[in-house]
């Protein structure tokens, strides 16, 4: 009995040690890599936030969306327009981006309530095609073809010149989003999402209003896309209609499948995957997209639960690291 108690305290201590090392790693990381890689890490954080949003809608709630990048685009354009034309600061553009994407998500979510599976996918696909076109044609507001430039992010009036500070802000917001997602997933709301995904009949009989929860999932995923879009606009500095095309939506879908459907750490892995793999494979000039394609096929074939199932397997195989799970 005493021994198990001792073991437990040791396990607890090593678990918090592993977490501390984990955080320390991400705090130190931008200081030891080049500016280019810090920029890429920022992008990975932003894509992870977007991926978390899509995972709530598709992974947890089972509603397929092929138009997630459009919401990121709406968030980015809201930010760029408000910042460029009205001089709004980050503290105003961020909530505005969230509000606008949530509203659009709500409006798209309502007509999609009656659609399932492939039909829902096609409806969101139409959205994915329409949004870049609307952005392109509405040039008085969006700058059309050439897009909008946006000033560097200022915190307390000081522009952030190095990507390191942008990295810390992204990391902080990513942690907040992860925390909120974790709380939602482990509340009655998350249970309702999973319940309606697994059995609509069972969920209805248990008092879950399917329309409300499907719409909520749409709004939440759009809100997260809005956060990602806001940060994206500041990081990249310009937004153009081609940044948020159909392929970008497909990458988000790839991210949740590769990372792990219905998994928070899986979303982060997926977000990192869609950021770094194209960079890595273009670094090896002769084999750009082949590696990307091969990796996709390998993961889907060998790890149906995504990269997260591989991580879990490793934790189980090497119990020394188990404390960190």
């Amino acid at each position: 009995m005493k021994e198990t108690l001792l073991q437990k305290t040791l396990e607890k201590k090593s678990s918090s040690l592993i977490w501390a090392l984990f955080f320390a790693f991400f705090i130190v990381l931008p200081n030891v890599v080049s500016d280019f890689w810090t920029y890429a890490l920022c992008l990975a954080g932003i894509y992870s936030i977007g991926t978390l949003g899509l995972n709530i809608l598709t992974g947890y709630t089972g509603q397929v969306s092929l138009g997630h990048a459009s919401f990121v685009g709406i968030g980015a354009y809201t930010t760029a327009i408000l910042s460029h034309k009205f001089g709004f600061s980050f503290w105003l553009t961020m909530p505005s981006a969230i509000l606008v994407t949530s509203l659009v998500g709500f409006m798209l979510g309502l007509p999609c309530l009656r659609l399932k599976g492939l039909y829902l996918a096609v409806a969101t696909l139409a959205f994915a095609w329409a949004i870049p076109e609307i952005i392109l044609k509405w040039s008085s507001l969006t700058g059309g073809y050439s897009g909008i430039s946006i000033e560097a992010l200022r915190i307390l009036g000081i522009p952030l010149e190095s990507h390191i500070w942008f990295y810390y802000i992204t990391l902080f917001i990513l942690c907040l989003v992860i925390w909120a997602t974790y709380n939602i997933v482990n509340s009655k709301f998350g249970r309702a999402f999973i319940a309606l995904r697994d059995s609509e009949e069972g969920a209805k009989a248990m008092g879950i209003n399917l329309s409300i929860y499907k719409t909520l999932a749409f709004v939440l995923s759009s809100a997260f896309a809005g956060i990602a879009g806001n940060l994206y606009a500041y990081l990249v500095g310009t937004v153009t209609p081609y940044d948020f095309g159909f392929w970008f939506s497909i990458y988000f879908l790839v991210a949740i499948i590769i990372g792990g459907m219905g998994s928070i750490p899986g979303s982060i892995l997926g977000g990192a995957f869609i950021t770094f793999l194209p960079l890595l494979s273009s670094a090896l000039r002769n084999l750009p997209n082949i590696i990307y394609g091969a990796m996709l096929i390998l993961v889907v074939l060998l790890l149906p639960g995504g990269l997260m199932s591989f991580v879990k397997l490793m934790i189980r195989k090497f119990p020394a690291t188990k404390a960190g799970s």
Partner: protein, 253 residues
């Protein structure tokens, strides 16, 4: 005044009559069995009461409330909880979270409170979790709380589905073939558990079941259906000797 009143219920699917002019009632704290050959329309009756189906004709009242004016997801709030023939458990959730979904309507936690972990929402969540544990402990299945339901034995899953319905503290429990696929000893355990739960919580049961000995042990009244119509109603010992019931089950001689 009966608790559940079903009057002249009729429903057909593309011209095929599933239930025809059925009238029956369930008294508070009673157990009524609904039996009949396959395709007699038993589950259809349950699906009308829980509003999965829209009847063509008839009235359904529960505690003087017009059930037909409500939607499926409002039925549990009225005090009617059900299980399914094919067990509609949520495969992505563990056992205790499955049970907690049955508490959904009664768990007072707002969205932002839950997302930002406000104390009110956390407290409501903790209390529900405790209640679900107690329910599992009462049924002797607490050791499975954190297992994924897909990995659990059939009989345990059946118990989890019943627990999920009962955590809503229903006044009427609708059971659709609870013993289907169970081993004899599991049936005995289920019978015992339902008896204990009823002693504790005092709900009535509408039971669809093929195992006649289970029905005779459990029910005070049995309603026999064939081709969507009532062919007999009475205490179990009368029903099993009823000539029409015998012919419905084994066919005309």
């Amino acid at each position: 005044m009966a608790q559940l009143d079903v009057k002249n219920l009729s429903i057909s699917f593309e011209g095929l009559t599933a239930v025809n002019n059925l009238t029956f009632s369930v008294e508070p704290e009673s157990i009524i069995g609904l039996i009949g050959p396959n395709g007699a329309g038993k589950t259809t009756v349950l699906n009308c009461i829980t509003r999965f189906y829209e009847p063509d004709q008839g009235e359904i009242e529960f505690a003087n409330v017009n059930v037909l004016a409500l939607r499926t997801n409002q039925i549990i709030g009225l005090g009617i909880a059900r299980t399914f023939q094919n067990m509609e458990l949520f495969s992505g959730l563990n056992a205790i979270d499955n049970i907690l979904v049955g508490k959904h309507m009664f768990l007072k936690a707002g969205f932002f409170g839950s997302a930002l972990k406000f104390s009110g929402a956390s407290k409501a969540e903790e209390e529900s979790k405790k209640e679900a544990y107690e329910m599992m402990a009462f049924l002797g299945i607490a050791q499975w709380a954190h297992h994924n339901v897909g990995d659990l034995p059939f009989g345990i899953r059946k118990m989890i589905e019943i627990a999920r319905a009962l955590i809503s503290k229903p006044k009427l429990l609708l059971l659709d073939e609870p013993t289907a696929g169970m081993m004899p000893h599991e049936k005995a355990v289920l019978h015992e558990q339902i008896k204990r739960l009823r002693g504790e919580m005092g709900f009535s049961i509408l039971l669809i079941e093929h195992d006649i000995s289970f029905v005779t042990k459990m029910c005070q009244q049995v309603l026999v259906m064939n081709f969507g119509e009532e062919i007999a109603l009475g205490p179990p010992h009368e029903i099993v000797n009823h000539p029409e019931v015998i012919s419905a089950y084994i066919g005309e001689e």
